[in-house]
């Protein structure tokens, strides 16, 4: 009686790829997450924010 596994479309149960540089080691999955965070942060700063109506504002 083993555990049922939901048939995920892209299951990630295989060993990951690891990036190594001297004593630094990071999994591909974590590297992707961190890169995405940085990209998202920069995008959030740079992308124009919609809604210019009334921006010059009602006091």
């Amino acid at each position: 009686m083993g555990p049922f596994l939901l048939a995920a479309l892209v299951p990630l149960n295989h060993p990951d790829h690891y990036f190594q540089w001297h004593f630094l080691e990071i999994s591909a999955a974590n590297a992707i997450v961190i890169v995405l965070m940085v990209v998202t942060f920069i995008a959030a700063l740079l992308l124009p924010f919609p809604g210019r109506r009334g921006r010059k504002g009602n006091p």
Binding site: M37, T40, A44
Partner: protein, 219 residues
């Protein structure tokens, strides 16, 4: 009688609470025009992720801690719980980065910043208790390894990572209460104090400095 009513705990609490946070401030319909950047969505995104974490956690609680090992639907709910946690930390850290670069503690907002940091730490501990509650190999490994750090601080005598019953109760009762209370305090503080204004423009700051110099007033 009115002075007696005035002195009542209920009256004083109500006046104090609504005085500091009247309905228009709790649920505002305008915001300062400088709040115009996508970076501002990450606070509410973090809270939304927490709502999904708690909701999926409640579903897991309905059927118990072993359910997800033997049920396809249970495994899917576990997947929802895992990914909402990943999104939660993703959004929270970006929110932290944004608030840091805005120096959002300015203007009497230090406690907002501090409750945010405590929330981050509490979330990490909540995640740890969750990982050791999975009742699988991951729980076995994480608990037997992390116990050394907890023991080294003397905490292991009371907070036993190798006791899944204790860890699960911290994960689903004690720590969620702490998180929700801290989130409430954090959000209420933002509503009371308002979103931190921008730094003064360079020219304005220079004018201020020049004014001070010319009046000889101490800085």
């Amino acid at each position: 009688m009115s002075s007696q009513v005035d002195r009542q705990w209920t009256t004083r609490l109500r006046r104090r609470s609504f005085g500091r946070l009247p309905p228009e401030k709790m649920l505002p319909d305008t915001q300062p025009s400088y709040v115009a950047s996508w970076i501002y969505v990450f606070g509410v995104a973090t809270i939304s992720a927490l709502v999904v974490v708690i909701a999926t956690g409640c579903v897991l609680a309905i059927f118990g801690p072993e359910w997800w090992h033997v049920s396809n639907i249970g495994h899917f709910v576990n997947s929802l719980h895992l990914w909402s946690v990943e999104i939660f930390f993703f959004c929270m850290v970006i929110h932290l980065w944004g608030k840091y670069f805005m120096a959002a503690w300015r203007g009497g907002r230090a406690m907002t910043w501090i409750t945010g940091m405590v929330l981050f730490l509490a979330s990490v501990v909540t995640a740890l208790t969750g990982y050791v509650s999975q009742t699988n190999f991951d729980s076995q490994w994480i608990s037997t390894q992390a116990k050394d750090a907890v023991n080294a601080s003397g905490g292991g005598a009371f907070f036993n990572l190798l006791n899944p019953g204790q860890m699960l109760m911290w994960h689903i009762v004690l720590l969620p209460l702490v998180l929700v209370a801290l989130v409430a305090a954090h959000v209420i503080m933002v509503r009371i104090k308002g979103v931190v204004p921008p730094f003064e423009d360079d020219s304005v700051a220079a004018t201020r400095a020049a004014d001070v110099e010319s009046t000889g007033a101490p800085q």
